[in-house]
Symmetry: C2
Amino acid sequence: MPRKTASNARSAPRPAAAARGVAPSSGETVELPGKGHQTRQAILDCALQMAGRIGLEGLSIGVLADRMDMSKSGVFAHFGSREELQISVIRRYHSLFEADVFYPALDQPRGLPRLHMLFDRWVQQVSREVETGCIYISGAVEFDDRPGPVRDALVLMVQTWHDALLRAVSQAVEVGHLQTNTPAQLLMFELHGLILALHHDSRLLRVHGCVELARHGYRRLIGQYATPTGMKLLQTLCGAGD
Amino acid sequence: MPRKTASNARSAPRPAAAARGVAPSSGETVELPGKGHQTRQAILDCALQMAGRIGLEGLSIGVLADRMDMSKSGVFAHFGSREELQISVIRRYHSLFEADVFYPALDQPRGLPRLHMLFDRWVQQVSREVETGCIYISGAVEFDDRPGPVRDALVLMVQTWHDALLRAVSQAVEVGHLQTNTPAQLLMFELHGLILALHHDSRLLRVHGCVELARHGYRRLIGQYATPTGMKLLQTLCGAGD
DNA sequence: TCAGAAATAGTACGACCGTTCGATTTTTGA
DNA sequence: TCAAAAATCGAACGGTCGTACTATTTCTGA
């Protein structure tokens, strides 16, 4: 394979319009790179949906091409390798996750209100059964024992999200909604556990009302660490009941 | 494919020694079905290890045959189909799980002592990083969207284990270690979440000390529902320090 | 011991996989 | 408008997969 290497190195980063145009002259909705970018996004959306059902490892360029009414090589050219496709799917999920879960919560004031919205939207994201499953969770299981760039990309995204959540917890302590001796890392661990159990029970066991279980767990958890100020807020945020 | 169907129906349930000899004349360690059973078990152990790393979907009969120094068809004949192999692996994991986690805890008295040992051994089982990963957890993610006999088998095993754990919680209430108003289902959900978070953080993020996080979470969780009697027991079981 | 049964090997098939490469169509910008 | 560039196609390759079928070896029990 003498010339294959050179050719491969060329085709991988080059294909289609890879650059992210961030500042087009006319407006943000007009894509800078032209039509290639559009189809690439469409392919990614389709791939994301597939990956949510059968996993990143189950992604097949051939099946993807069929669903897109394109040729295999046409789809392939946008990514240059299956690995790049998988990474791109992860990145796409990340940006959708940010848009649906993270950014909206920034409008809430720091402390429990923001933390509450982060968790609430996280729950919604994970419990949407009809739609795309959570790539973070399925990817974690698929790639925890598979070193390589895909795993690296996944770890980066998950870590970023966890860091953001941990920051929200710390802020809740700073503004006096949670007690100063709150073990932030443990709290994060437990919140994450609630989400994972929700994912498991809703998708595998099809348990009825597991969304409520996750929410109750959250209330109990936060209630244990909340200051009096935080408790009042918590009751307002969660509505009536226990 | 006229005669293929008949031949297929024959080869699937027949191959090797399928029957489970439960009462051999000489002793329990002497296998009834002969040599076929031995190699079948050896294949399953190898497959279990592979599945723990790359998942049940990643299992390949060819690779399995290589590792066993056998021919593909030789391995294949023991199961009749890939699906049967996957199901057999799940069953094997289940019986190992029972032996390592469930049965030892039955020696403990009902209530918190037994529940504690169940959770403790569950933690150990999941956090063994070098060894086989947890098939329940990886299988759940792989098959939650894939109907079929493999999924059915998996759900059955997981459900059985959850039921057993729920029984242990109920008993802890009955013997007065946990308060009578303990929400058993929620407690189960939270315990399960701790395990899932442990699995995630130890394997994907490689977080140091996440076993301790899971144990702390457990202590906090049980502590919240424990009666005074239960609290004393809990402190004894967990050792010193909060 | 020796025939019948069980276990294993060998080979082949068709399907799908990711990837390459040259040809062709479509889009783009001066 | 028209040539250059980008996007897409079509065909083919080597590889792996699960499975079927036949032949051979190994075990087992009367």
